[in-house]
């Protein structure tokens, strides 16, 4: 890949988390349809399980929604028991959407430029 750069997933996508008991789901939405293939190839269920390894996910499933340029990740048993059992402040796991967005992705710089994100990349780092 010529001119490959490694950036936070945050540069390519936005996300929203939801919970049911001890199960977390994170909707991951591409900021630009051009990012869909790179995210599909790199942000696999295995990669997300690795990123969340400290919470010992029992299972991670990725559902693909190409018509919405989005993915839905479902992570089992990562909420420290869920909102009614966790001793943490964020028992819902609501802030974990942004944790997913700290996963690293490697893309060609021209892809970011075509989506108008290269400047942002330069000014805010990766």
């Amino acid at each position: 890949m010529t001119g490959a750069v490694t950036v936070d997933l945050y540069r390519l996508a936005h996300a929203r988390a939801g919970d049911k008991g001890n199960r977390l789901n994170i909707a991951l939405v591409c900021r630009d349809p051009a990012f869909y293939p790179a995210i599909a190839a790199q942000i696999t269920a295995e990669a997300v399980a690795e990123h969340f390894a400290a919470r010992r996910p029992r299972r991670v499933v990725r559902y693909d929604l190409p018509k919405l340029c989005a993915f839905n990740f479902v992570l089992d048993d990562v909420l420290e028991g869920g909102v009614n059992a966790s001793l943490g402040l964020d028992g819902h796991g609501k802030a974990l959407s942004f944790f997913l967005l700290t996963t690293k992705v490697t893309v060609d710089r021209t892809l970011l430029e075509s989506a108008g994100l290269a400047k942002q990349l330069n000014t805010k780092g990766g």
Partner: protein, 454 residues
């Protein structure tokens, strides 16, 4: 021209903004045809707290949102010809209905017809053992805990029946959130209860509405990346639904927020697991074929929802007593703040462990580890922080053990490291939850009208 049904949603949870319905009522008043205002105010835990309140006072136990949201909305809504559907009922829909009647009378509508939907409370007909036998994903109920609440998610049928019967306001207890919108749609469009594709479209409309502003720019803004104008005055959502199931999501003009592909996409997947099988009491919704298109400013057209036959079982949530949660915080600021905070944490840990060695204690540094917990990167030894706020938390079946923790944190004022400041402490009763699957034959939703033979 094809008749559109318009549904505005004034609340996505009990703590939502109390004045959100105003602009919705103003906009819906400009249109004709069937128009509804819905309120979702009953998170799982909210209902359990309602149940505890109903035990203390049989005249209460409905959602605290009722008295926050309806007094300002009910008069203008009824004057505009809107009908209201809300799960304000909590653990006591009849008490809620009586309260709604008072508010309606005070607003000049003494003859408003108020219906209740009941039948979600499983404590009426199920023993603890029967519930335990139906638990999924765990065995909490087999340990014989004290059950606080057990409610099954009812569907849209009873809501539609209440509207068919002429209700101006429908007050429910636990129903599936999307059913708050599907009930009005089935009533107004006359859809059949096995018309899975239309029920799917209506359920998707309800799913997009049920969290209020979460589809109109709420819970979305990220400055410089996803900018949202008018955060202080976000417009709450309106769904326009045709008899075919064609659906547009929009919001009142001259309000803040935005409706675009991004806001709608985030909400389509909110709290969804398998996008091909979102289970509700009314239909199994499949959103994998959904497509979005712009239909004007702050208008998104949603097409492609598919539906499959509804499940044979209904989901129920059971809450049980689960000990006491204690939380306490203290601040250290200025030179060497982090070292003093760590010294405080060690001292509390040591003293609590002497008296209650089995007390599971969690200590977080707010601003560093408190949100991500185990996912946080390790603290560098030379980290300099201008101020540090420590948070202690523990849970135990005995109140005394948890009280010991919060008292030890307070004692840091005089006996801890130098400069401890700003202690806050809090004890609260904990509730644990379990899920059950209940056979439909054992669940009988009931509709009744306030003051009319029931």
């Amino acid at each position: 021209m094809e008749q559109l049904v318009r549904i505005g949603c004034g609340a996505g949870f009990a703590g939502d903004r109390a004045d959100s319905a105003g602009p919705l009522i103003g906009e819906l008043a400009r249109h004709r045809g069937p128009r509804f205002l819905i309120f979702e105010t009953l998170a799982e835990r909210t209902l359990a707290l309602c149940q505890l309140e109903a035990r203390r006072d049989p005249a209460r136990g409905y959602s605290p949102a009722l008295d926050r949201m309806l007094p300002g909305a009910i008069g203008p809504a009824l004057a505009a010809g809107l009908r209201i559907v809300g799960n304000f009922g909590g653990a006591n829909p009849r008490a809620a209905a009586r309260r709604v009647a008072v508010l309606a009378r005070e607003a000049g509508f003494p003859n408003a017809r108020i219906a209740t939907v009941e039948g979600d409370d499983l404590l009426e007909a199920f023993t603890p053992a029967e519930l335990a036998a139906r638990e999924t994903d765990g065995a909490l109920l087999r340990t014989g805990p004290q059950i606080v609440a057990a409610n099954v998610y009812l569907g849209a049928e009873a809501i539609a029946q209440a509207l068919d019967g002429g209700a101006d306001v429908v007050v429910t207890g636990r129903v599936a959130d999307p059913s708050l919108a599907l009930g009005p749609l089935v009533h107004a469009h006359g859809w059949r209860w096995d018309d899975w594709s239309r029920l799917a479209a209506g359920t998707l409309a309800g799913h997009l509405l049920e969290c209020g502003a979460q589809v109109t720019g709420g819970y979305f803004a990220d400055p410089g990346v996803k900018d949202v104008l008018g955060m202080a005055d976000i417009g709450y959502p309106i769904a326009e639904v045709a008899a075919s199931g064609a659906l547009v999501i929009t919001k009142p003009p001259a309000t803040g927020g935005l409706v675009d592909r991004r806001t709608v996409t985030e909400q389509i997947l909110y709290e969804v697991h398998d996008p091909a099988a979102y289970l509700t009491p009314d239909v199994v919704l499949d959103v994998t074929g959904v497509e979005l298109s712009e239909d004007g400013p702050d208008r998104i057209r949603v097409t492609g929802a598919r539906g499959h036959a509804r499940p044979d079982t209904l989901k129920a949530t059971v809450f049980v007593e689960s000990g006491v949660l204690g939380e306490a915080e203290i601040s250290y600021a200025g030179p060497n703040a982090l070292a003093r905070a760590q010294l405080a944490a060690d001292a509390v840990r040591e003293r609590v462990a002497r008296r209650f060695p089995d007390l599971l204690l969690r200590i977080d540094t707010i601003g560093v580890t408190s949100t991500y917990g185990s996912l946080s990167p390790p603290l560098p030894d030379d980290l300099w922080m201008p101020e540090v706020r420590l948070r202690f938390a523990a849970e135990h079946s005995e109140r005394e053990a948890v009280a010991c923790l919060v008292e030890e944190v307070e004692a840091l004022y005089c006996a801890g490291p130098a400069g401890g400041a700003g202690v806050r402490r809090h004890l609260s009763s904990r509730l644990a939850s379990a899920s059950c699957l209940i056979e439909r034959a054992r669940v009988m939703p009931r509709v009744s009208f306030l003051g009319e033979g029931s």
